[in-house]
Symmetry: C2
Subunit: 363 residues, 2 copies
């Protein structure tokens, strides 16, 4: 398989995505926001969550499952908490809006938390968490997602890859940004292996009957992903616990769906009947550092933390220990200069969209 990638300049690609959203009845502001979140994924090297998802989103808009012009409402509120009914919005729009509210609350009350229901996929969690950084706050974002992952000891799709993201500012060092799926492998890694027709490590997924598999295509064949830890001996019950925590905060606390009832991302599968909640849920928040400690002091200590951890004695002297967020930041620096590579499948998807909306793809 020749997997030649075409390269696209990020600013022009972002503007194009924005215009596609406008053509789909998004307000200019919402289109800009949604495009920013999507392109942030491509810039940070999380290709599975970037423009690769655009055609999927557009199909969900066509089906009426994503509202381009949603009525977003705060339906409950205290000094440090709120619940948002996103009115069927795309998460690319609802999550940053919720994060803004969380940050405002944290400015006054020391912390701020917003649970979001009636939403859809929110792109990369890091975009939302990282909004807190410039306010000297620690950002937090989790979301549930279409069921694909089995609880430890089970063989049934009950959970999404349910990411946890925490973004923590430093002073002279770049921020600490942990953005991780609670499954043994992320969707992105599975997609890459599938595209390359490569075997995956044992411990990432199992077949429908519960037996082990190293074939990523088993996911198309009712297979399922394992939780972080992979097997009981190595703590898969912990990965399950973390994924469950994300599901409960995103789904149960917000009034969205949870577990096997989370609506599927693909437009050709219908949402479950008798679903207990509304749409997909997220949970975002911010802690103001100043609520605990003088922010400058904290950030100086974060520099020390980061510098000391970089100096950890490494297993391989050519591969120093990294700080969460290093890879993504390096990708961003590179891609801002050299452009965003898109594989053939994504490229041809975008060309189709370009033709449909008569908006030429930038080169």
């Amino acid at each position: 398989m020749a997997a030649e990638n075409e390269i696209f300049p990020w600013v022009a690609l972002k503007t194009w995505v924005e215009n596609i959203f406008v053509k789909n009845d998004f307000s200019r502001d919402d289109a800009q926001l949604a495009a920013s979140v999507l392109i942030a994924a491509d810039l940070r090297g999380i290709d599975s969550h970037g423009v690769a998802r655009l055609s999927g989103y557009l199909r969900l808009i066509e089906k009426g499952r994503i509202q381009p012009n949603p009525l977003i409402k705060i339906i409950r509120e205290t000094a440090s908490t709120a619940t948002m009914d996103a009115g069927g919005a795309i998460g690319l729009v609802s999550a940053p809006k919720a994060m803004q509210i969380a940050i405002q609350k944290a400015k006054i009350a020391g912390s701020g938390w917003v649970a979001i229901n009636n939403s859809n996929h929110f792109g990369i969690a890091a975009f939302h968490s990282m909004m807190a950084l410039e306010h000297d706050m620690i950002g937090f974002a989790v979301t549930n997602a279409s069921p694909l992952v089995t609880p430890a000891g089970g063989r049934e799709r009950m959970l999404g890859t349910n990411p946890i993201c925490v973004a923590i500012p430093a002073l002279n060092e770049p921020p600490f940004v942990l953005d991780m799926a609670t499954s043994a492998a992320s969707n992105g890694k599975l997609e890459i292996a599938e595209r390359a027709e490569k075997e995956i490590p044992e411990g990432w997924l199992i077949k429908e009957d519960g037996s082990k598999s190293r074939n990523p295509s088993e996911l198309k064949n009712k297979g399922m992903v394992l939780t972080l830890g992979s097997d009981m001996e190595h703590g898969s019950y912990k990965g399950y616990g973390l994924s469950a925590f994300v599901d409960i905060f995103s789904g149960v606390l917000s009034g969205a769906n949870f577990g096997p009832w989370v609506p599927p991302f693909v437009s050709f599968l219908d949402p479950a009947e008798n679903a207990p909640g509304k749409g997909i849920g997220h949970f975002v928040g911010a802690w103001s550092i100043d609520g605990f400690r003088e922010a400058r002091e904290f950030k100086e200590n974060m520099d020390l933390w980061i510098q000391r951890f970089r100096k950890t004695e490494a297993m391989d002297i050519n591969n120093p220990v990294q700080i969460p967020g290093d890879n993504e930041r390096n990708a961003e620096v590179h891609r801002k200069v050299h452009g965003i590579p898109l594989n053939k499948k994504v490229h041809s998807d975008l060309l189709e969209i370009a033709e449909k909306y008569q908006l030429e793809l930038p080169k």
Copy 2:
């Protein structure tokens, strides 16, 4: 190795522990609290964190590293946040006191968060988180601990087993209580293997030189524990990220020590020189459910969540999928009736303490 366990009634054992703390200059209230936390671990089957630690705590008190009569101060505060200087207290006392403050704040502001510095080991995290349950709140507790764990890609002790605990109430179902070390194996599991002189699974620890080992005694020989995920392919960088998140919240945000500077638990090792902070740190908090959603509705949905997850198609029909906290609750039900089994080593430790303080161990 004959590992005959003697059985002790929990109430009498708790009173005895309380009296030992009083003999060590704890106030009656603090002694009662500390004994409750310690016995909660034994009741819940987390034997490594119960009375097995008493002799270690007493040696730290003797050395002046734990203050029996600490001056606990709130040194910073907002509506939903606070920082506590625990004055060298044992964490068994400072953490529940901090949790009480978090709960008070959550009653008024919707959530409450307390970072604690200048503290010592806090026992089982679940005790603190679970304090939130009766208030219809979700409890959260993390702590850093003596370095024993290497970051992914490293071979140096930089992190503790740094647990994360979240306790979530349900209505008719028992609560969801996730209490997990962020390492591939907890201290407790390693101790059990070591006592039984049993091989451990590959992926739990490595030797000083970074090579794999299945011998739990390597920990006494400068070996180190791996993070959840065990190796890069299976996501050890995620376990590292979670452990780092716990370390930063417990240590950096509170002004306590962090990373390799966290003081050792054993009294024969001295704390690091030039340590950047004060003592060990914890971070506890509570979200008021009512701040997001009517509590009864939430708890009804939690019942549904729990019931549905119990019905997950199981790998083995005789081992249904569990809900986090099931094992510990079952142990507690059993041990409240049948008593707490203590192994020979712990038993003889307690007999020594009994003799020293002239307080007979209950039978």
